[in-house]
Symmetry: C2
Subunit: 82 residues, 2 copies
């Protein structure tokens, strides 16, 4: 189970592109606000597990590689509540 | 250049999961409303070009395979304006 409170302490690198409020800082990035935790977990794990190339994967895969399942649940909880 | 008006005629299959208004019909799907056309094009092309596995790719890749660059621009324009 993800904790949005714990997630808030794990988004230091995420915010550069996705903002603290889940609003993309440039058009090439997606907004995360309003997405479900289920979807956010699914896509973040797909990046981490090397299942996405192209698109923004050159940025996302190295970042996601360092995340545990719990980290991903926490970050997903945080952004789903923005 | 994408046309939202043309895109409105090309979303017959998209709406089942993403809604006519870009609101996901279930938690496993992302909302598309409010995303930039740039991002929507990038991710749809990544699915079409076989650069995404895992996640929802089993659903998305076969759908996206049938889309031309113009189709993708039009659909991206449509959903970015929802």
């Amino acid at each position: 189970q993800g904790s949005a409170e714990a997630g808030a302490d794990k988004i230091a690198t995420c915010v550069a592109c996705h903002g603290e409020d889940g609003k993309a800082t440039a058009d090439i990035y997606p907004n995360l606000s309003g997405q479900s935790a289920t979807y956010l977990e699914s896509s973040l794990k797909a990046y981490r597990d090397g299942q996405r190339s192209g698109g923004m994967s050159a940025v996302m895969t190295p970042q996601a590689t360092n995340l545990s399942d719990q980290d991903i649940s926490d970050i997903a909880a945080y952004y789903s509540q923005q």
